[in-house]
Symmetry: C2
Subunit: 752 residues, 2 copies
């Protein structure tokens, strides 16, 4: 059966767009003026010898950002963006990433280009060899390596659509060898569209062997970083390919296999020879220049186009014997790479035919590609739309170096705009974003197993840990959160362990609770549902209650739960203690939504001003919530004799809410260092009594500065099994407590 027919099969078609992606992207670290950084690789990024996502390439300044293998375009984009966020925010604040493939102006002296200070001596030796063989300057160019694998179901269905090849490994190898040859033949189209290295900066070329005019892509041209011309390798078969490579190494033309800088590499095992057992599993495209107009150097459209291009390479027949076919491609790419960016390409006709055939394929295979192909065909027809042309145009306006600086600064600002977010995962909970940030920074492998469920897998070597909501882990037992979820049970456990908890009772019907009225009528007490975690359904009676108010409070609480607690109300201030691994890592005071007057602004203006804080937002997407001016707030103002247009006196604090929840605009104030140690010990012991490793426990303390003496000095209100972490990490005032790091240290003590 012929490949086109195989791809047209009904069983194959649903899987055609199934694929896996992985991107490696190099970037030079520069200062905010665009000068190559003089610092070492950032300490915060842990150990380069195992870091899966952030490495150094040739030079100490040359970051290599690596995504996990991803099952979709969205996923690979998200990961790459996230790794950028982490890399940027782990660098000194005076540094940014250079957005261009071509390096900024290089030092005059070659020795000022510092080879990456890797731990393994052989890695350093190899780089020294490259420096000697090719010079350091050429190594300073950056680009994207695009790893691509056809989906397993797709390959399987294709395999089962034919009978010639009986072993799936051999089938894959044939498939990918064809792709490689066709890629080499037609790769000029990618060079035309995505080439983005028209010009070099000072110090890249040190002799006259350089282009005289702007070109589409220095990097993928013969002026780029290429092997010597005597290195020839055939792609006719995996055998030939492997033999030729071995021969080149044997003859000393290459120091080792990986010195072979082909625009496409066959991947599967560690070495080429392994491919005979494993089959080729995927390919690595190495000819993509950085798109400087994108923060992460590439965008969704480009990835989707390359994906479609990879399907076309499978679809289309080879039209000449292997070596000849590849050689044609090399020559065309050399030519196209050196064309002037504003010029129509000499291969316009072949380009049109490629687009026509890709459209034809998309139509026959029901691939939704019309718009994408239409757009890029415009680029083919209008060279000024290509990346190289846009870059050249910008250079004419402000100079390439200035462009690099201002784009770099733009991306730098973007990374710092919402420091509590992790780009690519911004719709997850803040605490999970924080955890993922820290995990990437420390060099843990991560996999988001379920975004909407905040389910994450973290790995360090063979050690796996699953985490949900950033704090639900294997370190806690099943029963202890269940115990904390049930406020009645929590109190019983704490009471039996000798802690002071508010006296009270639990009722399962409003009638039974009504009968208890005489026991509470004249004391201060609280009515609350047995198991909610968001402060809903709670009524506080500080000075007793009429039967009517009592019944109203019961009704509110019974709306939230079948069981309701009535408890004594304890006087004092409520503090949240975040306990992890038998240590108090944060203590927080939450105060109700409020503004402080200046004698000039109205309450409304003060609220607006306070809401400008970038930490404030809505729907838990920010560490703090915007202060509202709704009915409840207006009522509260009215009770104090204000309207929203009143002007409070200087330093006058006006409260807009009675409850101190952050979710209703409250302020979070870290007071970890101010809380007396004796209360921290109580918090730790109480959490231990509950059998928990991680808990947010709320204590009422009349005087936090006075050491604990007897049980009247505190009361435990409740313990939370899924305590908010972002309010400690990004408090309104006081020190940030990076609790997600504590979670990671608990899970991976081997990180030290």
């Amino acid at each position: 059966m012929e490949i086109k027919e195989m791809m047209r099969q009904e069983k194959v078609k649903p899987w055609l767009l199934q694929a896996r992606f992985g991107i490696e992207k190099e970037s030079q670290r520069v200062d905010l003026q665009g000068q190559l950084a003089k610092t070492d690789h950032p300490d915060k990024l842990g150990n380069r010898s195992f870091h899966p996502y952030i490495q150094t390439d040739f030079a100490e300044t040359q970051l290599e950002l690596i995504t996990p293998v991803s099952e979709s375009v969205d996923e690979v984009l998200a990961s790459l963006t996230a790794v950028h966020d982490v890399a940027q925010r782990s660098m000194p604040e005076s540094e940014m990433m250079w957005p261009l493939s071509m390096p900024p102006a290089l030092p005059e002296k070659e020795e000022d280009i510092v080879i990456a200070k890797l731990e393994r001596h052989e890695d350093v030796l190899y780089r020294r060899f490259l420096a000697r063989e090719y010079g350091k300057r050429k190594q300073m160019v950056s680009g994207i390596h695009f790893n691509f694998e056809y989906g397993l179901d797709l390959v399987n269905e294709l395999f089962h659509s034919q009978t010639e090849v009986t072993c799936i490994e051999a089938f894959k190898t044939e498939l990918y060898m064809k792709i490689a040859r066709n890629f080499l033949r037609y790769r000029w189209l990618l060079t035309y569209l995505f080439g983005a290295t028209p010009l070099s900066e000072a110090g890249y070329f040190v002799d006259e062997d350089r282009p005289n005019e702007p070109v589409r892509s220095i990097r993928t041209s013969p002026f780029g970083y290429v092997n010597k011309p005597n290195v020839k390798v055939s792609y006719a078969s995996l055998d030939r390919y492997s033999e030729d490579l071995a021969e080149n190494v044997a003859q000393g033309r290459l120091s080792e296999e990986k010195e072979f800088y082909a625009p496409i590499r066959m991947r599967g095992g560690k070495k080429v020879a392994d491919l005979f057992h494993t089959g080729i599993r995927y390919v690595e495209l190495r000819n993509i220049d950085l798109n400087p107009f994108e923060r992460i150097g590439i965008n969704e459209e480009a990835i989707k186009f390359i994906h479609l291009f990879m399907l076309y390479l499978l679809w289309t027949d080879e039209k000449a014997p292997a070596d000849e076919w590849v050689e044609q491609g090399n020559q065309i790419n050399d030519a196209v790479s050196l064309e002037h960016p504003y010029e129509q390409t000499a291969y316009l006709e072949e380009g049109r035919q490629l687009f026509a055939e890709m459209k034809q394929m998309a139509a026959e295979l029901d691939l939704p590609a019309a718009e994408l192909l239409g757009n890029y065909q415009e680029w083919l027809e209008q060279p000024e739309l290509t990346l190289a042309a846009r870059l050249l145009k910008a250079d004419e306006a402000e100079g390439q170096a200035a462009l690099g600086r201002h784009l770099g600064k733009e991306y730098y600002d973007e990374a710092y705009a919402r420091p509590y977010q992790l780009a690519g995962f911004a719709e997850m909970e803040l605490s999970t974003q924080s955890l993922l940030f820290d995990a990437i920074q420390l060099g843990l492998e991560f996999e988001v197993m379920d975004r909407s469920d905040q389910f994450v897998l973290l790995k360090h070597g063979d050690h796996k840990e699953y985490v949900k909501n950033a704090n639900m882990t294997s370190k806690d037992t099943y029963i202890s959160p269940l115990l904390m979820e049930n406020k009645t049970v929590t109190k019983m456990v704490l009471d039996q362990a000798g802690f002071r908890v508010p006296a009270g009772e639990t009722f399962t019907s409003i009638e039974k609770a009504q009968k208890a009225y005489p026991r509470y009528a004249k004391q201060s007490f609280v009515i609350k549902p047995k198991s909610t975690n968001y402060g809903l359904g709670i009524t506080i009676f500080k000075e007793g209650a009429s039967l009517e108010d009592y019944m109203a409070g019961l009704e509110i609480a019974f709306k939230e739960d079948d069981s309701v607690l009535i408890e004594e109300f304890m006087e004092g201030t409520e503090y949240r203690f975040f306990v992890i691994d038998h240590q108090v890592k944060a203590v927080l005071l939450r105060i109700p939504a409020n503004v402080v007057g200046d004698g000039k602004k109205t309450i409304k203006q003060l609220v607006d001003a306070k809401n400008q804080d970038p930490l404030r937002g809505t729907h838990h997407r920010s560490p703090l919530e915007l202060i509202q001016l709704g009915d409840l707030e207006k009522l509260m103002l009215k009770e104090q004799g204000f309207t929203i247009d009143s002007v409070p006196a200087p330093q006058q604090q006006v409260f807009l809410r009675e409850n101190s929840n952050i979710s209703t605009g409250g302020d979070s104030i870290d007071i970890t260092d101010e809380m007396h140690e004796s209360y921290k010990e109580i918090a730790i012991d109480a959490v231990e009594a509950l059998g928990a490793e991680i808990s947010g426990i709320d204590l009422i303390i009349p005087d936090k500065d006075k050491p604990f003496k007897d049980e009247k000095d505190y009361g435990i209100i409740e313990a939370n099994f899924n305590p908010a972490m972002h309010m400690h990490i990004y408090p309104y005032a006081g020190k940030s407590r990076r609790l997600t790091l504590d979670v990671l240290r608990l899970l991976f003590p081997e990180l030290g």
Copy 2:
């Protein structure tokens, strides 16, 4: 301040009915003919040396059933009933409990009364001493010891209503000493109302020193089991009481303190001398005969009356010096106990006055007692209503021994009627009832922390374990049930660990799922919500689906969850493996609701007959559910060409449902022993990969007898983090698997 005034305080009143109760109840084990049992204390009840609830008293046949300390009347009744259930169902099926205080006919030879075979030699020695001193026969009488403590808040509020006594321990001691004196003075009223030993059986009295006529209470009369007359102890103060006791022991009139058989004992420490440090914490009333008309020997009304009586003893003033006051009481009680049950008591006037004063107290203190007091006052006026009179009347009709037999058999039948229930806790989940049963049987201490939440505390010495839903424990981690709850994540974890799971995808919107239609249209597949556990929202397409049906299936699933899975449908039979502690303890086959024809009965009649099974009920209150004949069942019959009036052929199996859920009338069939070991290993390994200790994992297996060879031989459908246990414990067919015992063994490995 005077006590009445203290009790009338507004701060005190709400707490007046606060109290703690504990009951110890003795019962002779007899065979179903009412002969004293000849067997040893049941093996199943574990070790008597630590069993907190089921002990032996004097004789090997004399069970002592003990409740945990309870905070309410309901609670103490529930516990006592439960302990009865466990005791009865732990005895040989040929034995029951004798419901009367007076023992059944005793053996002629004293040596045939076997002293309890206790482990500790000193315990045996003490019983031998008692046998010598009092004779074995008198020890064979049974009764109730009623432990009573005023609520802590009540005592506290009373304490704070006065200033004379400054230390709360001393205050309590004074309180309880007064109670003790008043109790001794007025206890005759309890003897009158609740005395229930009018007659003895053969072998109890061996000489002529016995009542000639029926009396109200042999047991609490001078013919009962009492100290020698020379043992005199004063209740004037704790000092006097303690000194007198010590003197009696020193003089050899008592072997040790506990040989002092007072109708009330002051409790607090281990010995009387400890009371000086601890204060008297509670009292033990020892003069309550078993009420033979109640399965557990006492009822709610009696407990509530005694409670009220205890408040009255506090309320009422003593009217004579201590020793005289107590002596009066002893004489009156001796007289009343020996009155004929049908006679008006000689102390009717004092009785009337007691009721009048109790009513007065109830009115002044807002205690809801009118009905209760009214009822018991009728007993005072009409002696035939008392227990002794009712018992005598029954004796006249059938003989006391026959009454004991038939009441005993009635209670025996009650204990076996619903073997899957634990009386007293029948509204809890079946699995929790089963767990509590096993815990009590093994002698673990238990506390139900929250009935509606199925939250239980179990203790063995210092070792505590909390359990929810009978399977959520400290042995599982927090993350692993969360992982099982999310079907997408479960599949990813199992897939990555190398297990076969159905291929498929997860969708978060109906639109995205619609686009995947071509991938599923022509294969067999299942649509299901990502995280429900009850089979809701699942649609199976065994032979592909039209777009319309596909969309309908999606809509059903999206009603249950925001995320929906589409998976390949695996051919084969689904089995539930219950895995605990790395072992498969049960394998279950569930088959849809069905009947098997006999050629005579209609389908409706067959359903009715099958529903007679006592294991079938409704709303998960029974291990199996009743088969319904609703619209769904009728439609299913119609599709097979039946109506409910059709008569299936002999042996013809007719299905009434497509789904095999037990909750819709399905049959559970234990096939643990038939399942090939190789699949059990897969289940164990998969649960291990999920990091779980307890899981119910569902495997599809085409042929359970064929050993596992390759991955086509099975598929894992899902793993359940809260797997039903009762369907394994009480299957429709096959062996019972007592999984709750396995849970207890996992939690308390020290039990062996």
